[in-house]
């Protein structure tokens, strides 16, 4: 045996280990899609694909914001509560029309984002605590605003947002696609994107290099909260009612899962926008596959847990190298 012969398989394993966390999600997505196309009845019907896409759209939108926050080595636990807050604000201003109501919902998100960002950037709180406080308080405020009641939405413009199609796809799906492009552009091609990755890679170095670290952090949390508010408005438009106690419940988990499965490391310094979208699609497909094959939701949850662990474990191996 020569050294080269011994080295080669090890090198391949190393390459696989680097490669897997980044592209594994796409492979898994294609494999699972192929599996369903062959073995699941009525999977390829347009109605089914449509339903899956409509269901995944708000998760994608929230997960995009989460990916950007995680890119700065942060986390935003408040996204589900921001969705609830947006959902609670919409019916209050719906009397003035759909546009002002949506605008006010976004303002609500903006305020939460500013508070999150301020606590993280200026007070120096750990992101997990700052956004935890907003998670608890945000849903509380949403419940207070809505009086704890479910409100039906009858505004035709808002209902149209949730149920019309544009070129064969629902508006919410187009919105998710558009926001993916915008965030992708933001992260890859703008100064803000470069800065947020630099802050996530090494905050102290970014600070010493003269980057406006605090402003970047505030911008990141505002972005995440705004995207969550959009998702909240979409949820209201789709189910044509606003229930602050239900909208966005546990969305923070779905969003974090999508980001992590998509190959964005929790240690920051890297944002995988397309990976995040693929992660959200994969988790949606996993659940759909299990439901269609009559596996119980309880099993689906346990499988999700294992997928998260495997994804993080694979990413950890790559970092260790």
């Amino acid at each position: 045996m020569t050294d080269a012969a011994v080295d080669r398989p090890r090198l391949d394993a190393a390459r696989l280990r680097r490669w897997l966390p980044v592209y594994g999600v796409y492979v898994a997505l294609v494999a699972l899609f192929a599996f369903n196309a062959v073995f699941t009845e009525r999977f390829l019907l347009w109605e089914n694909v449509r339903i899956q896409l409509v269901q995944v759209a708000p998760v994608v939108i929230v997960a995009l914001g989460m990916a950007v926050v995680i890119g700065t080595e942060g986390i935003d636990l408040s996204v589900g509560s921001v969705m609830a807050l947006a959902a609670a604000i919409v019916p209050i201003y719906l009397g003035y029309g759909a546009a002002p109501a949506v605008l006010m919902a976004l303002v609500g998100g903006l305020v939460v984002g500013l508070v999150n960002g301020g606590l993280v950037a200026y007070v120096g709180m750990q992101p997990i605590v700052a956004t935890l406080a907003l998670l608890v308080a945000g849903r509380g405020v949403a419940l207070v605003l809505s009086g704890g009641q479910l409100k039906e939405i009858r505004n035709p413009d808002l209902i149209a947002l949730g149920s019309t199609d544009l070129a064969g796809l629902p508006v919410s799906v187009w919105l998710a696609v558009a926001l993916t492009v915008v965030i992708g552009f933001l992260v890859r091609r703008t100064v803000f994107g470069r800065r947020l990755v630099a802050v996530g890679g090494n905050r102290r170095a970014a600070d010493l290099a003269g980057l406006p670290v605090r402003r970047v952090l505030i911008g990141v949390y505002v972005l995440s909260a705004l995207l969550a508010a959009v998702a909240g408005v979409l949820a209201v438009a789709r189910i044509q009612s606003s229930d602050a106690s239900q909208v966005g419940l546990l969305y923070e988990l779905s969003a974090i899962t999508a980001v992590v499965v998509g190959g964005t490391p929790l240690t920051g310094g890297r944002v995988r926008v397309l990976g995040t979208v693929a992660g959200a699609l994969l988790m949606q497909l996993v659940i759909a596959t299990m439901i269609k094959h009559d596996l119980k939701p309880s099993i689906a949850e346990m499988v999700q847990a294992v997928i998260i662990l495997v994804a993080v474990y694979a990413a950890r191996e790559r970092r260790a190298r």
Binding site: I75, L119, V123, G124, M125, Q126, I128, V129, A130, L132, A133, L134, L135, V136, A137, G138, R139, G140, V141, A142, L143, V144, G147, G148, L249, L250, L253, I256, V260, L266, K296, P297, S298, I299, A300, E301, M302, Q304, A305, V306, I308, L309, V312, Y313, R316, A320
Partner: protein, 338 residues
């Protein structure tokens, strides 16, 4: 703060006395801030609400706080090592369902089943955190999902509610000794034991050392991995016990409770002055934090026409205020010590 910290300040050095005074003020604020606020809020409650003054109300307040107290106790250990356990809420529910289900086989089965399963989940958390180097936050997030899935699997997708069959087990949740209900005794006893473990035993000192600096602790020969595994196992065990006690009190394994309980527990620990970065804090603070959350909730109920959602608003804002104060106190201390 701890024995370790006291050693770092040499005693009787005149030049440093003034610095140490501001240091001590910051320290006091951090350690007993929650207790002070608890006393103030309770006094206001006593003065303003006749309904708050009754012994029955005090008993209800304490027994309601007992499960959260147990969970926060375990969470304090985890947070002191610099970790976090997000799975306790669903482990708590799982424990309750398991206890109610196992109560058909008698009192001891009803106690052993949740402790075994929940302890095992904690153990798995601990091993994954300690041995693979994955962040505690993501490991316990996964086990949050896993435990909830398991709970649904044994309760017919959350539709079946097991009633507690063993009368002795029901007594465990509702019976009283010396006028205080059993869950409160259990919580109080475990807090005492926890305090002794943290401050008087090697394991407790290891917990503080790891939270201060895991690398330094390892170099000093502290069994870092084993200690980490233990704290997560303790957290799982206590969450399971809390679930069992709650099931015994309610007489059934309720499947819909416990969402967000991990956040209440973290809030109680942080309000109690334990730093999320690990290494500093005490169980007395956690107890004050738990009671404070309970008193706030109770007072909101006393006001009556206030929606229960205000409790979330208040505890969320409170959490933010406390952590802001902590950060400033820490900064003050850094300035004081040069």
């Amino acid at each position: 703060m701890t024995a370790l910290d006291k050693r770092q300040v040499p005693a009787g050095e005149p030049a440093r006395r003034a610095e140490r005074r501001s240091d001590r003020v910051a320290d006091l604020g951090q350690r007993h801030g929650a207790l002070a606020v608890l006393v103030i809020v309770s006094l206001v409650g006593l003065a303003a609400f006749p309904g708050f003054r009754t012994p029955e109300n005090a008993a209800t307040l304490l027994v309601n706080a007992a499960p959260l107290a147990l969970i926060a106790l375990g969470m304090t250990f985890v947070i002191l090592t610099g970790g976090i356990d997000l799975s306790v809420g669903s482990v708590f529910v799982l424990g309750g369902v398991l206890a109610a289900w196992a109560s058909q086989y008698g009192f001891w089965a009803a106690l052993a089943a949740p402790l075994a399963v929940c302890g095992l989940i904690g153990l798995v958390n601990g091993v994954l955190v300690a041995r693979t180097g994955m962040p505690p936050f993501i490991v316990t997030l996964a086990s949050l999902l896993g435990a909830r899935g398991l709970m649904r699997a044994i309760s017919g997708e959350g539709s079946a509610t097991y009633l507690v069959a063993a009368p002795a087990f029901k007594m465990f949740g509702n019976g009283a000794a010396l006028g205080v209900k059993w869950p409160v005794w259990v919580a109080a006893a475990l807090f005492l034991i926890g305090t002794v473990v943290l401050h008087r035993m090697r394991f407790g000192q290891s917990v503080y050392a790891i939270g201060g600096s895991a690398d330094a602790a390892r170099l000093m020969g502290v069994p870092v991995a084993a200690t980490r595994v233990c704290v997560y196992a303790i957290s799982g065990l206590l969450a399971g016990l809390a679930g069992a006690l709650n099931a015994a009190r309610l007489g059934s394994g309720v499947t819909v409770l416990g969402i967000g309980l991990e956040l209440d527990a973290i809030a109680a620990v942080v309000i109690g002055g334990t730093l999320l970065t690990g290494g500093a804090g005490a169980l007395s603070g956690t107890a004050a934090g738990v009671l404070l959350l309970g008193v706030i909730q109770n007072l909101i109920n006393q006001v009556g026409d206030l929606p229960a959602a205000y409790q979330q608003v208040i505890s969320g804002s409170f959490l933010a205020v406390v952590v802001v104060a902590q950060t400033w106190l820490a900064r003050l201390r850094r300035v004081a010590s040069g």
